[in-house]
Structures are given as structure tokens and as C-alpha cells.
């Protein structure tokens, strides 16, 4: 039982990270219909930008984080304007757009590798504390990860509920055609959604940079987890994304209780594989 508490906390923390990723990913998918695989490498861009700002430009971490988030949002928006928009305008089948995003994933991932090399980039001068919860140790970064989920989640919920853009987004998620008919500038809203969604992943990325460092291939698993969490929770549902992320984190973490940690991913994917076959629309009804 002594192992259980740290595993549980670890699961919640990782789950918060996945939930954050799932929120941005799910929002982009539910609003624009794009399965944005390049969400992963765009997230990696944020981590590398933050790292570069800290180590090369010697900016304070919080400022560097801002650079990362903004840069990530810009790259996300650029991928919409330069790439997806053309396919959406021409009514390309969803699978074509999905493959395009796979192509973009390969392109950006490998460009990062060519530009920065394949060794891990870490920031060492960011200090954070250690805290005890019962017998378990929690680091400051882990607390930030959970806090980020709470703040972003509430902020996003408020944004969706109370702002004009929020209502446009909800309208588009509900019925794209009707949204166009009532005069919503769906392309501008899509652009905003790509910005916000990517920005959210940027927050997650800069925290992961502090915790684990950055690698060129970090984006692939990230978008994969985001996709899984979003699907498990119900694509496009905000509470669904949070629940999906936490479930994913906990399943993965608690699995280690009985099985070697090498099998962590296998357990998570295996459980999800079964859940999705059993209930393909996810636990929460979203989009």
C-alpha cells in the first residue's frame, strides 16, 4: 500500500499533463475537424523555444515560457493558414487532411532534429521545491503541472461560456454549416482555435522541459496521448478531456504497481484499445 500513494500522485500529475494536451488537441479537432497530428511537434517547438530563450538568450524562465507559448501558437496558426486551410476550403476528405498532418509531423520533428541535434536539451538553473504529501514526495514542477490544468481548464471554460469567440467556437463544434450560414467567420475562428489550442500545448511543453528536458521526438507520444485522452473522454468535450487525461495518467501509473514499468505504455494503450472497442464514442458525449 505504501507504493500506492506515490503512484497515485504521479498518475494525477501525468494525467494533468495529458489532460492539458487533450484540451488543446480536442478543441482543434472538434472545431475545425482537423486531426492535427502536427500538434505534437508544434508542442516540441515550444519546448525548444523555451530552452533556447533560457540558455542562449538568458531570459528569465517565466519570460522564456511566454516566448515558447507565443511561438508555439504562431506555428500552430501558421500550419492552419499555410496548410490545412487550403484542404478545408477544397473539401478534402478527412483522411487526406489527416495524412497531411502526419506529413507535417514528420517534417517538423525531423527539422527540429536537424536544427538542434538529437541529444536531450535541459534547463538546469530553474529551481523548484520539494513537498511531502504523507509519505510521498511531490516536486514544485509537478504542482505547477496540476495548477496549469486547473487554471487553463477554468479559464478555457469561462472563455467558451462568456466570450463571443467562445460562443462562435461552440456553434462551430455543434454545426459547422449552420455556423457559416449565420455569418460566423469560421476561418478566423479556426485560426484563433489553432492559436489557443497550440498555446495550451506550449504551457505543457515548457513544464515538461523543466521536468524531463526536450527531445526532437517528444511530440509524437505527446500528440498520441492527447488524441487518446480526448477520444476516451469524448472528442471536443472539455470535462471529457480532463477526465480522459486523468484516467490515462492513472491507468498508466497504477499499472506499474503490479507490472514492471517497462510495460507502462503497453498497459495504458492496451486498456484504451479495449475501452475504445467497447465504447468508441468515448465516455463523455462531446462533439
Amino acid at each position: 500500500m505504501e507504493l500506492l500513494l506515490p503512484l497515485f500522485l504521479n498518475g494525477v500529475v501525468n494525467g494533468a499533463h495529458y489532460a492539458l494536451l487533450a484540451m488543446g488537441f480536442g478543441m482543434i479537432f472538434a472545431t475545425t475537424g482537423v486531426v492535427h497530428f502536427a500538434y505534437g511537434p508544434v508542442y516540441a517547438v515550444a519546448a525548444y523555444l523555451t530552452w533556447w530563450s533560457v540558455t542562449v538568450l538568458s531570459l528569465p524562465f517565466l519570460v522564456a515560457m511566454g516566448v515558447g507559448i507565443v511561438g508555439c501558437a504562431v506555428v500552430g496558426m501558421a500550419s492552419y493558414v499555410l496548410l490545412y486551410r487550403w484542404f478545408l476550403r477544397n473539401d478534402s476528405p478527412p483522411f487526406i487532411i489527416l495524412v497531411v498532418s502526419l506529413g507535417l509531423l514528420m517534417l517538423i520533428t525531423n527539422l527540429i532534429g536537424v536544427a538542434f541535434g538529437t541529444n536531450a536539451k535541459t534547463v538546469n538553473d530553474v529551481t523548484y521545491g520539494f513537498y511531502f504529501i504523507g509519505s510521498a514526495v511531490v516536486t514544485g514542477v509537478q504542482l505547477w503541472q496540476v495548477l496549469a490544468l486547473v487554471v487553463v481548464g477554468l479559464g478555457l471554460a469561462a472563455f467558451m461560456k462568456w466570450t463571443a469567440y467562445g460562443s462562435y467556437i461552440r456553434a462551430m463544434q455543434d454545426n459547422m454549416l449552420m455556423a457559416k450560414i449565420v455569418g460566423i467567420n469560421t476561418e478566423r475562428v479556426s485560426l484563433v482555435v489553432f492559436g489557443i489550442g497550440s498555446g495550451i500545448s506550449g504551457i505543457a511543453a515548457s513544464l515538461i522541459l523543466v521536468k524531463e528536458g526536450a527531445l526532437p521526438h517528444m511530440g509524437f507520444l505527446a500528440v498520441f496521448y492527447a488524441f487518446l485522452a480526448a477520444v476516451v473522454g469524448g472528442l471536443g468535450s472539455l470535462p471529457g478531456a480532463v477526465a480522459g487525461g486523468l484516467i490515462l495518467g492513472l491507468v498508466e501509473s497504477l499499472g506499474v504497481w503490479r507490472v514492471s514499468s517497462d510495460w507502462q505504455t503497453t498497459i495504458a494503450f492496451g486498456v484504451l484499445f479495449i475501452v475504445l472497442i467497447w465504447r468508441p464514442t468515448g465516455l463523455w458525449k462531446g462533439y
Binding site: F87, V100, L105, L107, L111, F224, V231, P280
Partner: protein
């Protein structure tokens, strides 16, 4: 020179992989992204058998093929339930599990280090160790896989796969079981990919998990897309180009990791550029229009089969009967205690205002949805529990309000798919009884021509279905129904949206179907049309049968008139 041979071997392996991938992605339209796991299965089966048990080629390859075929069927399971994005994510998850398994099951797979020391293939007493020795075998298998794929593509099985890609419900409605087709498509695709895996293991005498990752699946996908989705020759071209292109990078003498990454960049950019500027690929999918060879025509003539008549149906009395049908959707009662009797030789109409439950009644009668209570019988035998395609096989066929033609197939093919009892729908026949399949195909072509002549579409046989006018589409729907050979035909609004002139052209066809002994039932809103074409009608409103009788009598009922025009 050995270097050139080596490239040849690599190309052969990727030809096998891309051609086999194109069977699921292109022909069947099943977007499963786990192809590298079949490749892995073939490779690891060969490696494990060779290293641990000392079993070599060809048995090792056979085990890989059968095993990967089974794995293919496992992947097909989710494809039976979900489509689109869900299939993509589930298969990606499966792919990730496979890679993880290879990396972690140290005892079996050698873990991250993989398995070294796989015995080379020994053929005619000589070990095939050098690329030059290996090349002929690799090419042999590449050609074999291509030919297998091609025969599959051109067979009735392949035609049914393409039809399924267009519209799954429509495939069911002509009496085919999509489940069987999906399972087999995955099994074949997986089994063929395993051949490449087996060759790979014996060729490099080493297997490791990094060769079979998601990136590998994406690479093969790029080859398929570059060549052209649905075009097997295109896959060959795609494989050749994408193997050769990165070799050019070697001339730049970059460090290997950078070269690897640049290769990744090229593949990624390539995917984007193709889909942006030429989404159909270098060689777009071609429609091999079936022709009857002259020799076959002669053979058929010799046995007296040159023209097919559309058979008359000898039947009378009640055929399809729905008793006390009841259907709820959530809290809404769509059909409430409706009893509908269809009789042979007459055209029965279902009429009633929008939302009266006509289409639901249709779906109940044809088994597309199940009843909450009540029973549907066909010639006094219950059809409850039969699946839609089985109901069609037993003699009841339906059309859809939204037509659901196989739009990118020719008119002739639309009819061909619907013909019943095709030997070539069975994969075993396609490969082991080709003569039977060829003969039957020739007969079926004649039958299809006859059916088209019957509805007056003979001249349009080679047109793509999406080039037809609206009226012609409606005729094709009728042709497809007739082709199923069913004696009970249910048509969901076959006449709606037609101008009076066209209507006059189509009405006789429908009358004729009934006059020849078939049971015809149709949904229609236009009262004039109902009076012209129907012998008998059921008036439905709010899910109930309010009245039945000859249309003239129904029309004179003031209450029904009031309800209808309300």
C-alpha cells in the same frame, strides 16, 4: 555492384509492403495505420524460429504469413465497429503496443537489442548471403505479391471491396456481408506484408524493434499515396522512388543521424506536396472495365448462353408480412402496432405525411433495424434475427431514399456487385478456381447487361455512376434491386423529385416488376403517382396504420385527406 543489388532487394521488400498496404487503404478504404506490425510479425516469426528453434525458410515464412493474417483479423475487429478517425487512433495504439512489446519482451524478442544470427535462406543447397544471391528471390516474391494483389483487385471480391469503400449499407442491401470482406482484406494484407518481414529477417540476419515503428508505417503510407491510392502499380512506383530518393543523400556524405532526419523531412514534405498538388497520386486509380473475352463469348454461345432474360417470378399470395410491429427510439414511438401485408404481383404503397414512420416501417420489414415487439415473416417464416445481408439472400431487397449508389464505379459494376451467389466473392475461388470465377463472371456480365437493358440503361453501362442524370440514377437503383434476384422489392421513394416526363418513363418499369410476379412495395408522397402505380396502399400516420385499401378508396376518405393536407 553489390550495392546496386542491395538497393534492388530493398525496393523489392517495399514493393511487397506498399502493394499489400494498398489493399486495405486503397481497395477497401480501411484507414488502419498498423502495417509495420504485420511486417514486424513476419520478421520476428522468422527470426525467432531460426534463432531459437533452428527452423528455417520456407516454413518460417509460412508461419509468419499465417500469424500475420490472424493479427490482421484482430486489427479488423475494431474496424468492424468504428470507422474514420477512431480506426486510425485504435490502429496507431495497436502499432504502439506492438513496438512496445518487441522492445520489452526480452525473453522472446531479444528486447531493444533485437535478435541477431538469423540463418540465411538456403535454396538449392546454397546459402543466399550476398545481395546478388538474394535479389532474384526478393524480386520473385515482389512479383508474386503484385500478381496476387492484382488478381484480387480485378476479381469480384475486389469489386465488392471497392463497393464497400463507397457505401457499406448499400453493400449489405445487395446481400453481401461487409464483415467477411473486412476480415479477409486485413488478413490478406497482413499475410502479404509478413512475406517482406520474413525476407528482411533472413536477408540482414538481424531484427530489432526500431525497424517496425510507426514511422515505418508512415513511410509505407507515403509510398502508397505517392503512387496513387487504389492503384497497385502506383505502389510499385512509389516504393521505387522513395527508396531511391534518399540514396541520393548518401552522395552528400552527411553523418548518418542527420541523413536519417533529412530523409524524414523529405518523406514529410513529400506527403504534403503530393496531397496538395496531386492527391490522386502519380498513377490515379483506374477502373478496369470488365470485358467479356471473345473466346469466352464463343464458349458461352456453345452452351446456348448468349442472352439472359430477367426471370419471371412464380409467386402469389402474401409474401412479406409484418405483424404488430413496434419500434421506439428513446421516448419516441416511431412505429406503433403496425401490421403490413405485402402480396406477390402487386405494387403496395406506403403513404402518409412526413414523420409518419414509413421509412422506419421499411427498415423493420427489411431487417435493417430490429423491432421492439411484433414479427416479420417471409412466406410464414420469421426473418427476425437474420442480418440484413442474409435477408437479401433469402429474397427481400430494399433501396434507399438517398440512393446510395457506388458513385465512383461504373453503371455496369453497380449492377455486377448486386448479382447474387458470385463464386468470385470467395477469395479461395479467386485464387484456386480461377476458371470457375472467369466463366461465372462472363455469365454475370451478360446478366448485368440484360438487367440494364430491362430498365433502359444499356447505353450507359460504361459511365461512372456519378455522371448519370437524376432520373438515370433512380433507374440504376431499380436495376441494382432487380439484379439481386430478390422477389420482394422495397423501394424507398423511388419516384420523388422526378419531372412528369421522366416519371412516365419509370412508372412502367415498376409496374412490370409486379406484373412479372414480384412483390413490390414503395414509399411515395405524390397522391397522383400512388393512384397510377399502386394496387394497394397503407396509410400511416404517427406510426400507426390508419387505413388500407386500393388507393382510390383511401383518397376518398375525408378524414385521411384532412390529415394528409393538414
Amino acid at each position: 555492384m553489390e550495392y546496386v543489388y542491395h538497393i534492388g532487394v530493398v525496393i523489392s521488400l517495399y514493393v511487397i509492403l506498399s502493394v499489400s498496404f494498398n489493399i486495405t487503404i486503397g481497395l477497401a478504404g480501411l484507414f488502419a495505420l498498423a502495417h509495420a506490425s504485420f511486417y514486424a510479425f513476419g520478421a520476428y516469426a522468422a527470426a525467432i524460429l531460426s534463432v531459437k528453434l533452428g527452423i528455417g525458410f520456407p516454413l518460417s515464412m509460412l508461419v509468419g504469413i499465417v500469424g500475420a493474417g490472424v493479427v490482421g483479423m484482430i486489427i479488423a475487429l475494431p474496424a468492424l465497429r468504428v470507422g474514420g478517425h477512431y480506426l486510425v487512433i485504435i490502429t496507431l495504439a495497436f502499432q504502439a503496443i506492438v513496438t512496445d512489446f518487441l522492445r520489452n519482451a526480452n525473453g522472446l524478442t531479444g528486447g531493444p537489442d533485437g535478435l541477431a544470427g538469423v540463418e540465411p535462406i538456403n535454396l538449392f543447397g546454397a546459402d543466399l548471403t550476398t545481395p546478388g544471391d538474394f535479389l532474384p528471390l526478393a524480386v520473385f516474391f515482389a512479383v508474386l505479391v503484385y500478381l496476387i494483389g492484382q488478381r484480387l483487385e480485378r476479381s469480384p471480391f475486389g469489386r465488392a471491396l471497392r463497393a464497400m469503400r463507397e457505401d457499406e449499407s448499400a453493400v449489405q442491401s445487395v446481400g453481401k456481408n461487409p464483415v467477411a470482406f473486412k476480415l479477409l482484406a486485413f488478413a490478406v494484407s497482413g499475410g502479404l506484408a509478413a512475406i517482406a518481414g520474413s525476407l528482411f529477417a533472413h536477408y540482414v540476419s538481424y531484427v530489432g524493434p526500431h525497424s517496425f515503428t510507426v514511422e515505418e508505417t508512415i513511410l509505407i503510407l507515403t509510398m502508397v499515396i505517392l503512387g496513387g491510392i487504389g492503384n497497385l502499380t502506383g505502389s510499385v512506383v512509389g516504393a521505387i522512388i522513395l527508396v531511391l530518393l534518399p540514396e541520393a543523400l548518401k552522395l552528400l556524405s552527411l553523418p548518418p543521424i542527420t541523413a536519417d532526419m533529412l530523409r524524414g523531412c523529405i518523406y514529410g514534405a513529400m506527403l504534403i506536396v503530393i496531397l496538395r498538388f496531386r492527391p490522386q497520386g502519380l498513377l490515379p486509380e483506374r477502373h478496369s472495365i470488365p470485358k467479356i473475352a471473345d473466346s469466352l463469348r464463343a464458349e458461352l454461345k456453345a452452351v446456348g448462353k448468349t442472352v439472359f432474360d430477367i426471370a419471371k417470378v412464380a409467386a402469389s399470395g402474401p409474401t412479406l408480412v409484418g405483424k404488430g410491429l413496434h419500434k421506439r427510439f428513446g421516448g419516441i414511438v416511431a412505429v406503433d402496432d403496425a401490421t403490413i401485408t405485402l402480396k406477390a404481383g402487386r405494387v403496395t404503397g406506403l403513404i402518409g405525411p412526413n414523420g409518419a414512420g414509413k421509412t422506419t416501417a421499411f427498415n423493420l420489414l427489411t431487417g435493417f433495424i430490429s423491432t421492439n415487439s411484433g414479427e416479420v415473416t417471409f412466406r410464414d417464416e420469421s426473418i427476425g434475427g437474420l442480418r440484413p445481408h442474409e435477408i437479401v439472400s433469402s429474397g427481400i431487397a430494399r433501396s434507399f431514399q438517398d440512393l446510395r449508389l457506388f458513385r465512383s464505379m461504373t453503371v455496369l459494376e453497380n449492377v455486377l456487385v448486386a448479382l447474387p451467389h458470385q463464386a468470385g466473392d470467395k477469395l479461395l475461388n479467386v485464387f484456386f478456381r480461377p476458371r470457375l470465377v472467369r466463366h461465372q463472371e462472363a455469365e454475370n456480365l451478360l446478366k448485368a447487361e440484360a438487367v440494364l437493358a430491362y430498365v433502359g440503361l444499356r447505353e450507359k453501362a460504361m459511365e461512372r455512376a456519378d455522371n448519370l442524370s437524376y432520373a438515370e440514377e433512380k433507374l440504376l437503383v431499380i436495376a441494382r434491386l432487380v439484379a439481386t434476384g430478390a422477389e420482394v422489392l422495397l423501394l424507398d421513394e423511388p419516384l420523388s423529385g422526378l419531372d412528369p416526363t421522366t416519371l412516365e418513363q419509370i412508372l412502367p418499369s415498376i409496374r412490370r416488376l409486379a406484373e412479372e410476379g414480384r412483390t413490390v412495395c414503395l414509399i411515395e408522397h405524390n397522391l397522383d403517382v400512388i393512384q397510377k402505380v399502386c394496387d394497394y396502399a397503407f396509410y400511416l400516420d404517427e406510426g400507426r396504420v390508419l387505413a388500407e385499401g386500393p388507393p382510390n378508396e383511401l383518397m376518398q376518405d375525408p378524414e385521411l385527406q384532412g390529415r394528409y393536407f393538414r
